[in-house]
Symmetry: C2
Subunit: 240 residues, 2 copies
């Protein structure tokens, strides 16, 4: 049994992953360059990562709206990639290359303070990703970055994508907790706003460079319970 945080009754912390815990932009740019440059393809790799990421919300919206059945994020990433490449003038890639590129999202690096801060937070709280990434992707990121999850929750468990309420609610239910005993931790105000609407507590982590230098949320734009400059600062605030 975990000790409760003083005055909060908090038992579990749920984490957004892309942008909040891992630097997807630098990592995808690096992976894409490593895969495509040897094939004679030259692109602005950071721009490539941005363009791929720009397809992310529209792809998930097709699931959220019920236009297509739930498909795991790897499948959406692949489809979004195939939509993107012709626009960049890249054609004729092999199946193996397309597959390897799609799995770039399984090889993202954590922001530097994350592994140690998560280990601290785990001494006091149940911790789980509540990401739109699928289970295998989360498992690969956990191995790569030593993220010591108690369980992998999120979109694939819920069968829908954030910010749909059922994703947050399924995570609380998986741990047998009331929403008020759980806190969503994210670098994105819309994620936190949706979690709060389902009754969860919220913590914002500043990631001012998520989309490139100065292009990220340095502060929340919605009311939150905590706002911290990074995950180590959140651990300090939660007295871990």
């Amino acid at each position: 049994m975990l000790v409760e945080a003083p005055n909060l009754g908090l038992r579990a912390l749920f984490f957004d992953v892309f942008g909040t815990l891992v630097d997807w932009r630098t990592s995808v740019a690096r992976e894409a360059a490593a895969i495509l440059r040897p094939q004679g393809i030259d692109l602005d790799w950071a721009q490539f990562a941005d363009a791929w990421r720009a397809e992310y919300q529209p792809g998930m919206e097709e699931v959220r709206s019920g236009t297509i059945p739930f498909s795991k994020l790897d499948v959406l990433h692949r489809r979004n990639l195939e939509r993107l490449l012709p626009r960049l003038g890249v054609t004729g890639l092999s199946e193996a290359t397309l597959r390897d590129l799609t799995l770039s999202w399984h090889r993202l690096d954590a922001w530097p303070e994350v592994p140690a801060a998560l280990a601290r937070l785990k001494t006091k709280f149940l911790i789980a990703p509540v990401s739109n990434g699928n289970i295998s992707l989360m498992a690969d990121l956990a191995r790569r970055n030593a993220l010591p999850w108690d369980a992998i929750l999120g979109a694939e468990i819920a069968g829908d994508y954030k910010p749909k309420p059922r994703v947050y609610e399924a995570a609380c239910a998986a741990f047998d907790l009331a929403p008020a005993q759980c806190m969503m931790v994210a670098a994105h105000s819309n994620d936190l706003q949706a979690a709060a609407a389902s009754g969860l507590r919220t913590a914002h982590i500043a990631r001012p460079n998520e989309h490139g230098p100065g292009k990220g949320e340095s502060a929340p734009t919605v009311p939150v319970d905590f706002a911290a400059k990074d995950l180590a600062a959140l651990a300090d605030r939660l007295a871990v």
Copy 2:
């Protein structure tokens, strides 16, 4: 990316938990005694654990047959307990006591060699429980016994109970693997038989004392890929 096991193409190991990794009988007997003895109740505690466990398969069968919708194992354990207690002449327990007793199943101890053997196996394979226990129960057992899971798969992910094929198949799908790349590890031949029918490889672990001295499977009664005297021996066989 994990290295493939020589000649097998194995990528993931899935584990039965109750009986295979943890000694539910001794642990439940100990927990029940600790909770009920101070209330002046005296029972044969090992027999109490056996009687509670005897309700396990019939309870799940109501879900498997579609008689009741999927309910997590904690819910079935509670209902089975309430069916059992009057037969033992135990009545009038408080809600808090019933709840605490039900959570005995979250406080089971691993067989001695398990944590170290799992850590060895994790160096070569993705590892996950594919148990009928719910996510929160698996997370509590993992913390208590230092079981270093990559993810928690099993009944709650699949929405049904083993040995229904969908439980094994949902686990393979969560890791994006074909059944032949996965191996079910269990101390119960019926579990392994069902996993093999879905195309998984199988390993039997001897637990001759699971249901009391000499009352457990010391060898498989069905064809398996590996049969080992304990989990450390399986790790030896898989050259970890």
